[in-house]
Symmetry: C2
Subunit: 323 residues, 2 copies
């Protein structure tokens, strides 16, 4: 089945997702009353088939998962700012000949995100492409004035914290591409990241700096350190790993570099005053998200990862870039 005309397609699959202000997706633009007494938080991320997701999986699964991940990675940016989601605009470039079933599954993935994170689509555009499916999403959220978490603000001596577990997404990609034994947990962590919105929301006034880990722990910690004009040291053994990730590393210790620099974690990375450790733990507990102290910010520059014996681990390039 080839694509029906753009307007019928939007009506059938995307209009049911529209919220207040979206004007049924039938006007030139959406109209929104900004929530009184709040600042707006805005981010945009793009995903390309074959670059950011695997295009050759069973269509129904992949379409739904891709939609979920597209929204989730944008929500992760909101989480890193401590923001509450409001809504999103999305543009889709579908290859000519995309089956309508694919689009229907994609819309189901969006609907799941919307239910889970209480947001609606405000507008967008649907076009055709001669290349791979390409999606772009702009997310809107809100924060109370002055409470947004920022990347700048870490100080030498601050502790480095991370939420959840690190490396699952990168290992999941290896498992999905048969470069490692199959593993449902790791594959799921790659495909369906869970943005740490609840955690971000309770960290205002506690964390000195925050960002989400999307390009690899080492690379993103490097951003946080650089933004603060300092360096950071991480203890490799302190980095929280899931059971499947631990088993994978036990089987192949060379995977450690992948865990450290692989990306697709969508966990939060924090800087906090050591005196605030108990507050960080209490906030994380209230949000139901585990957090772990993995190192310290230092005077200097760059990120050093130390092994169990205190020796620096040599690392490739420093992280995964989508370029």
């Amino acid at each position: 089945m080839t694509l029906p005309p753009e307007f019928a397609l939007i009506a059938r699959h995307f209009r049911p997702l529209a919220g207040d202000g979206a004007l049924d997706l039938s006007d030139d633009a959406a109209l929104l009353d900004p929530p009184a007494g709040h600042q707006l938080v805005l981010a945009a991320d793009a995903m390309v088939a074959g670059v950011h997701f695997l295009a050759d999986d069973p269509p129904e699964t992949i379409a739904q998962d891709v939609a979920w991940k597209l929204v989730a990675v944008n929500l992760s940016d909101l989480a890193a700012m401590g923001a509450t989601p409001l809504g999103y605009l999305m543009t889709c470039a579908f290859p000519r000949g995309t089956a309508e079933d694919w689009i229907a599954a994609f819309a189901r993935g969006l609907a799941e995100d919307q239910r889970e994170y209480k947001l609606t689509v405000l507008g967008g555009d649907t076009v055709s492409t001669t290349g791979p499916a390409t999606f772009s999403l702009t997310i809107l959220g809100t924060v109370s004035p002055g409470t947004a978490l920022r990347r700048t603000g870490a100080r030498p001596g601050d502790e480095v914290w991370v939420s959840g577990t690190i490396g699952d997404g990168a290992l999941g990609l290896l498992a999905l591409t048969s470069r490692m034994p199959q593993d449902d947990h790791l594959a799921r962590r790659y495909r369906l990241p869970e943005p740490r919105l609840a955690l971000g929301a309770v960290l205002a006034g506690i964390a000195r700096a925050a960002m989400d880990v999307s390009d690899g722990l080492v690379q993103d910690l490097g951003h946080l350190a650089r933004a603060a004009g300092c360096g950071a040291t991480v203890n490799a053994d302190a980095i929280p790993l899931s059971d499947p990730a631990q088993r994978a590393l036990h089987g192949d210790p060379a995977l450690r570099a992948r865990v450290l620099t692989g990306g697709d974690d969508y966990e939060l990375l924090l800087a906090a005053d050591p005196a605030d450790a108990a507050r960080v733990r209490a906030a994380a507990e209230s949000a139901g998200v585990p957090v772990t102290r993995i190192g310290r910010f230092t005077i200097g520059e760059g990120v050093t990862v130390l092994d169990g014996a205190g020796a620096p681990i040599p690392l490739p390039h420093g992280g995964w870039s989508h370029f």
Copy 2:
């Protein structure tokens, strides 16, 4: 030259375009104080090389023009709502191996738009693609509460107005692709549309309905009529044409269908009470944009275009869709 890593690229070309709230494009998201006492207007449009713009033109020209058009078509959506531009987020998927010169020229085009229309970039994402260059832009604007122009609202008996001239963009595309003699004016109208922001801004309380003409006059008038549950009749001879378009039609009368349904006009299409004709003219004069009455909304449905003898002109499919 291949692309330098994402971060260096953003720093070099896009950071100089960032405005207040963009946090130097170095945080996870932008932070914006919504202008007090205003509603937000939001729209998103995507453009794909080879589908929405010609990819094989001289790189320096095309990159700059593409950037201009990407912003302009989004601004045209704001114009159709009577909104004032505030800023934008943009995602770029560049083919691997894109020359940095191309990206530099692209950034120059964005800078021109920003100067001309007083807006800044708030955020975005840059990724690589195995397909054609693909861009997505989300525009933010503001309107005074309750004054946004809407698509719904036309009534049978209302007059149909259009700004500027129609068909130039569609004929410009023919000229640029050697399917018609070269013409600088028409080519420029295709490449560098001018969003009718000044006109949109003065039509609040005067026009009953408005939208921008992007998919073809007949198709877009059909949307306006359908949104109001009515039909529309247009007098072909009343449709405003530029001198180059008149000459082209004189040479090849078959081009008339292209003018009526070709798209890429980015003019405003309005519904107004006949009693308000003088107010429409005065508003347009104050905005410095010519407007022309081309027909009427009718009881019924569909769009009929009448020739000079009052006979309906047979039309293909009804307009250009990017699908």
